[in-house]
Amino acid sequence: MLREPLLLATVLVIGICLILFVLYPIVRVFTYPTLKDFVEVPRNIRYLRAIRNSLLMVILSTSTATLFGFLFAYTVTRTDVPLKSVFKLVSILPLFSPPFMVAFSYLMMFGKNGLITAHLFGLRVSILGWHGLWLSETIAFFPVAALVMEGVLQSIAPSLEYAGRNLGATGFTLFRTITFPLARPGVAGAALLVSILILADFGNPIMIAGDFSVLATEAWLRVEGWGDVSGAAVLSSILLLPSLAIFLIQRYWVGRSSYITITGKPSQVEREPTKWFVRWSLFSFCFLVSVMVILVYVALVAGAFVRGWGFDWTPTLQYIRSIFSRSPELIHSLTFAVAAGFTSAAFSITASYLVSRKRFPLHKLMDFTCILPAALPGIFFGIGYSVAFTRPPIDLYGTAAIIILSMIFWNISMGYQTGIGAFQQISPSLGEAASNLGAGSMKILWQIEAPLVKTSFFSAFIVSFIRAVTTLSVIVFLATSSNIVATFTIMNLVSDGFYGKAAALTTALLLIAFTVLGLAKLLIGKRMELFRI
């Protein structure tokens, strides 16, 4: 490697960036508070309540989201109900939408002054609180579980189910003795993955949970209400430990006990028709959930065109116009996310090339550090940047740079894993052949391997871009009036009750995300692999 200065330089740059922008902020969160701050946690009632609430939500929402996801995946892969393509679409869209969107929309539909609760049924109830949060998180995160389990169910060799049927297992017996046991590791993996997201969820609780504070929102309130950065750091640290633990279990334990590696040749599958009541129940279930998902988008778009949601239903274009005329936040969101998405993709694909093709010292550490951000709650990452980079020696307070950097490095894991997968599929002998003919390492990357991983690069860009443009938790500690982005404004507007402009901004964000997604789909089509989880 020493004979290849360019390669050496690349390894060094990647390594230094990872240390500075991933490891250093993590360390700073733990070192910023004093030991006394940590010791006093068990005596602080608010902290204890936040811990308890977080725990409760993880248990509740993970269970329902996983169950919903499984039923959706089972319906789509194993039955012949109508509207399957709609169900499939419905279980994908939320993956590319701002995470707080569900809560915001349900507030408009089922809140104290909600369209459905107050105006359609004349009920004086509000969804605000833990039950609203439970519903929002279930709807927001079941698609992740569905996506994982669809993959799992599809990779079960059809001959196993055939063999079961041939030996006498039909209907539910087949499901109980063969299909479900084979899917179980996948279900466990999906549940763990979902629980990480729910634990880290900030957008939904900040909007819909009311006084019911969880760790992520309590950390934010610490800073917002008391200016207590140490407290926020302590709370985020408490949040990190279970996240990291679950992440490691998911990755290194469940990942290995999977059955899906044993597969046969795929054959044309003709499934035993499901019993009418099973079909009918699954269909009604998926239909209902789909209605709940579609409702989210309907409410948002409708809200953007109504003067005063809940009291004045006159149509108006004033909110749509206002976000274009005098709002820097949308422009910021777009430019920051493009910059972050592109850099993040380039960074992560390069890192994945180095890790999968080269041997150098601390190579395992680079691998781990690239995957690590996937385990970090956005709140934790944001507070890390806030304590690490808003005071000397590195003071980026209020700059675009701090937001873009946080977006880049929070999103490298997805692109990195896509890249690792792509390089695994390309035979190293291609590179060896090029090297044999005289190409250096970086030439091989750019001339031989890069064209082959182009699709991965695109996918990495799309995912980082969409995650960047829709994130709230990461930037909530970093946004100031000079580098404000749309999600932050939306949060403030919602908490002040300005639903119209908030809905208009959210609709604009959705439009941006879906346009990019649609363009990507047109450009690279089916080969796009967006969520490698």
């Binding site: 060799a157 041939n166 006498g168 044993i262 597969t263 003709e270």
Partner: protein, 363 residues
């Protein structure tokens, strides 16, 4: 053979635009070993899965033991299948895999134990019961899959290329064992393979399939020496297909002009008139190859060796005879060594099989 056990009558099945089976009919005698042989995509696996009850026919009927079973679910047909990838349940150990079908069918615990133990012993896989499928070798997995089927004491055993995932040597051993086992148990067995050598070695009856249809049904000997058409001749074993023209017909004896020579052939099957185009099917092992100048003896051809491969038990020669290249096998080369240069080939009149038409085109 004895009574008909399985009757398939005009079976048709399509997957979207693909016609997998186009009117397949065959009678399968009780206790026989019948093979569906054909290249991939010929419909043989679809046929097998239809008998197992995984696919419903679009058209036609299947009878087992005289009973129409078109609408009988898979598990009530008593036709148990061994899958190509074995389909051993990865979440159960070998013992649980073998006992699975009995348990599902609510057989008493005691009997399950007895039958599993007996089957395991029968197949020589004792001691593997508590291992998981991933922990045992391919050959052992194969036996475990067979045990899981046999423990059900099926009326019909269905085997879907069960040997294709094994290495060559193991395949030979298990082939012999399987034939012996089937004869001993007397279970009507249907076997699917694309390996013609396997089909010839195992079967009582072979049905050669192509493009969703059965081309020929017959004993291995018939299939090998009396192929009905070019496809069968070419697919089963190695055959020299030499085009020619009938010049003379004299009772059972015909003379065929192949350009370089005229061959006399005793051909009882086809009605061929003088002047008709034919293709001669000559198996390499039926050709005599000699270096001595044989002169003008019966059915001899002069040629030059252009290539050979040494296979131990035999040497296979490629001999150029005029515009033809003829493959000839010489067995037991231990004392003869390898021949080179000019040689004489000769063929006995009743060892040549005649197919009507030129080599290409017909199917």
């Amino acid at each position: 053979m004895s009574t008909i056990h399985i009757k398939i009558d005009n079976a048709s099945k399509s997957f979207g635009p693909v016609e997998a089976l186009k009117g397949v009919s065959i009678d399968i005698p009780r206790g026989s070993f019948t093979t569906f042989l054909g290249p991939s995509g010929c419909g043989k696996t679809t046929m097998l899965r239809t008998i197992a009850g995984f696919y419903n026919l679009d058209n036609g009927d299947i009878y087992i033991g005289g009973r129409l079973i078109n609408d009988v679910p898979s598990h009530q047909r008593n036709a148990i299948m061994v899958f190509q990838d074995y389909a051993l349940f990865p979440h159960m150990n070998i013992g649980a895999n073998i006992a699975y079908g009995l348990k599902i069918n609510k057989i008493p615990q005691e009997e399950i134990r007895r039958r599993v133990a007996r089957t395991i012993q029968y197949l020589g896989i004792e001691g593997l019961e508590s291992r998981s499928p991933g922990q045992i070798s391919g050959g052992q997995q194969q036996r475990a899959a067979l045990a899981r089927a046999l423990v059900m004491e099926p009326e019909v055993l269905l085997l879907d290329e069960p040997l294709s995932n094994l290495d060559a040597k193991l395949r030979m051993n298990i082939r012999a064992e399987l034939r012996q086992l089937q004869k001993r148990l007397g279970i009507t067995t249907i076997y699917v393979t694309h390996d013609q050598a396997e089909a010839l070695a195992l079967s009582d009856q072979i049905a050669v399939m192509s493009k969703g249809q059965i081309i020929q049904i017959g004993s291995p000997w018939e299939i090998y020496y009396k192929p009905r058409n070019m496809f069968v001749a070419d697919f089963v074993g190695t055959a020299n297909l030499v085009p020619g023209k009938v010049t003379e017909k004299n009772g059972r004896e015909v003379t065929v002009d192949i350009g370089e020579a005229r061959l006399r052939i005793e051909e009882p099957i086809f009605e061929i008139e003088p002047g008709g185009q034919v293709t001669l099917c000559i198996r390499p092992e039926t050709i005599q190859l000699s270096v001595s100048e044989a002169g003008e003896s019966l059915n001899s051809l002069q040629g030059v060796i252009t290539n050979y491969i040494f296979e131990g038990a035999l040497v296979r020669y490629w001999v150029e005879v005029g515009k033809h290249v003829i493959i000839a096998d010489v067995f037991d080369p231990s004392d003869k060594g390898i021949y080179t240069g000019e040689v004489t080939l000769s063929v006995h009149p009743n060892k040549v099989h005649v197919l009507s038409g030129p080599p290409q085109g017909s199917n």
